[in-house]
Structures are given as structure tokens and as C-alpha cells.
Chain length 205, copies 2
């Protein structure tokens, strides 16, 4: 696509094209859509981004993004404060929340230990996690980290640092074949894990 | 996808999801990308949209969008001012410009005659086109309108209104099979047109 006849248009297209996965053609489509909108609608669009960027905070307990000092999950009395699920980033919280299967709290590390990328334990929210475990009545820590060496290393590192409490249970996400998937299309490592960690078949479950 | 834990995030996602063809998941991806950007980069993004919306104008000659009173195409002395290509909207100009095959000027109608949608000739930039033809040394009018009844009607309507000048040539886009397409996959109407309007085979062309 060649350059556009308007510099203003060109600039807006460039900005949209800087979003992940958007090419110039799609960017142009969005910009032309903007041009057809009323000035109020466009103002709403830009205002929502500005407000987000200026006012969003990090939950002081779990490091989730939040409008308030404490995020909606941490301040929800209906959630189980004795369980903390440790995740890499806020997107993981969204994915887990979307399952509707988890009612505990979270802790966002903000990354994963990865010497290759120069990310060490001190770059992550590990100290605040250890403090939470020490100072609140936590009964279970679930590591919901990516299933890679880095993910396992991070989990293991934190596990070693955790205060030795008798009643503290530490777990990690089950690995296995995806629901609905054929064995044929599952890689050997995953399939191996899923047979080693097989789950007892229960008639009424 | 369930609602997000942050109202600010929710609002920004909603705004992105209002763009054509963007669902909530993709919108969230863009918003999280925004959150990772520096405040300056986000400001650049929103500013480019605001500037576009506030400052963009319509070229007073051809109704293309423009930063100035007259658009870049109309004010380019290297373009052939004796040829006007009549299009429905600015996107059509972009498509034609992308071909690199046309060096004349344009005239944007801003729509097409469509009684079903309540769009009549007076809703389109037809008067200004007739004035252009009357007052400038135009030699050819090309109708580059959609290949539908409405497109043909619009072209015919304008054709009838054009001042009778001896040297004024009026043409329309060739219809035919798409380059690279099999005859098998071309509909009968198009194939019919392409055989009726067959082009003489030239050895050195």
C-alpha cells in the first residue's frame, strides 16, 4: 500500500498499525471508521485510553491491575483468601477467571525467572508473595505458570523460599491432554505426564 | 469472556471492541499493549486520532479528504487535470492509487444513487462535478463506480447531465474476468461482458 494523500490520515494509520497484529490495511479501516464517527464518539474513544493509562493502578496486595488501591478480587469478601494462585501476568488472571473454576486470590509475579532474558528473582514480585504467605492465613499456593523450564524453575525457586508451615499446601496446574483432543495429536511429553498423573476414575463424579 | 475486574480497563476494551471486526478478546489485547506502552507513546496514539478528527478537511475541488484546502492529488501539477475519475468514496481513490495506473484527478460523489436507501442525486457531489466539467478543460470522465444497478444508474444519470462538449470522452471501468482467475469460477454475467467487450490481441502490446 502506498502512502496516503493526507499526513493526518497517514499518522493515525501509523499509530493504529503499531498495535500488535494490525497491518496498514486494517489500520486504515479503523481510521476511516473513526472519521465516520461523531466527534463525541471519537472523544469517548481517546478519553477511555487516556483515563486508563493515567488512572490505572497496581493492586497493593496481588499486583493485578486495579482502579482502586486494592483490586476487585482481593477486596471481594466472597473469595477464599486462604488460597493464592501465583501467575505470571494479568492476562493469566483473566484466563483463569474465565474458567469460573477458581474462587481464591491471585499473586502476579510480573514475569518469570529467565536468565536468558536477564530476568532474575529480584525483578519479580516474589518478596511481596513471601510476605503475604507469612502474614496472612494462607493454606494453599497454586503455581499456575507456563509449562516450560522457566516456569518450573520459577515455581521451584519460590517453593524453596516459602516459609515452612505445616498446613501449607503447594500445588501446580495439572498437565495432560487437552479436553476434546485426540491422543494422536498430543505430544509425547504431555501424554507421558498425563499417564503418570492419571486421575482415579470415580463412578459418581 | 466475562467482565473485567477493572472499570477503566472494561471501558477501554469496550471502545476498542466498537471498531469494525474487533471482538472483546482482540480489544483486550490492544488495551494491554497500550498499558505496556510509555505514557508518551499512548499520548501520541490518542493525539493522532484527535488531530485527524479535528483538522481533516474535504478537498474543495474533488471532495477527497485533505489536510489543506485542496488535496495533494488536485494540487499536484504532475497529474493530468484533463481527466476526472468519478468514484463513490475516498477508499476507492486509495484502491485506484494503489494500482499506480492512473495519473488523472478524482471526484468523490460521497455515495451512490440508491432510492432504496433514500439517497438521491441531490445527496451526492454531482453539482460540483458538473461545474468542474463546465469550468475546467476536462477531456475525459471515467466512471469508476461499483458494478451494480445502482452504480450504472448513477453513472448514467451523471452522463445525461454532463454538458455536451464535442471533445468530452466518457468511459467506465472495464468489466471482465479477474486477472489470474479461471473461466470456471467467473460468473456468467461477468464472463458474458468480457466476451462482448473483448480486447484485440496485439502482438507487441
Amino acid at each position: 500500500m502506498q502512502s496516503l494523500s493526507s499526513k493526518l490520515l497517514e499518522k493515525a494509520v501509523e499509530q493504529f498499525a503499531s498495535l500488535p497484529g494490525i497491518g496498514r490495511k486494517t489500520a486504515l479501516r479503523y481510521v476511516l471508521h473513526m472519521l465516520r464517527q461523531s466527534p463525541e464518539e471519537v472523544k469517548q474513544f481517546t478519553d477511555s485510553i487516556t483515563a486508563l493509562k493515567e488512572s490505572i493502578r497496581e493492586c497493593r496486595q496481588c499486583h493485578n491491575i486495579s482502579d482502586e488501591d486494592m483490586c476487585e478480587i482481593c477486596s471481594d469478601p466472597k473469595r477464599d483468601a486462604q488460597t493464592i494462585c501465583v501467575v505470571e501476568n494479568i492476562k493469566d488472571i483473566m484466563s483463569l477467571e474465565a474458567t469460573g473454576q477458581y474462587r481464591g486470590l491471585y499473586h502476579v509475579l510480573g514475569g518469570i525467572i529467565s536468565p536468558m532474558d536477564g530476568i532474575g528473582p529480584s525483578d519479580l514480585n516474589i518478596t511481596s508473595l513471601l510476605e503475604r504467605v507469612a502474614n496472612t492465613p494462607v493454606k494453599e499456593i497454586i503455581f499456575a505458570l507456563r509449562a516450560t523450564i522457566e516456569g518450573d524453575t520459577t515455581g521451584y525457586y519460590i517453593f524453596k523460599k516459602l516459609p515452612r508451615k505445616d498446613e501449607l499446601l503447594v500445588s501446580t496446574l495439572a498437565k495432560g491432554i487437552a479436553v476434546g483432543n485426540d491422543l494422536e495429536y498430543t505430544d509425547e511429553l504431555t501424554l507421558g505426564r498425563s499417564i503418570v498423573n492419571r486421575v482415579r476414575f470415580e463412578l459418581n463424579g
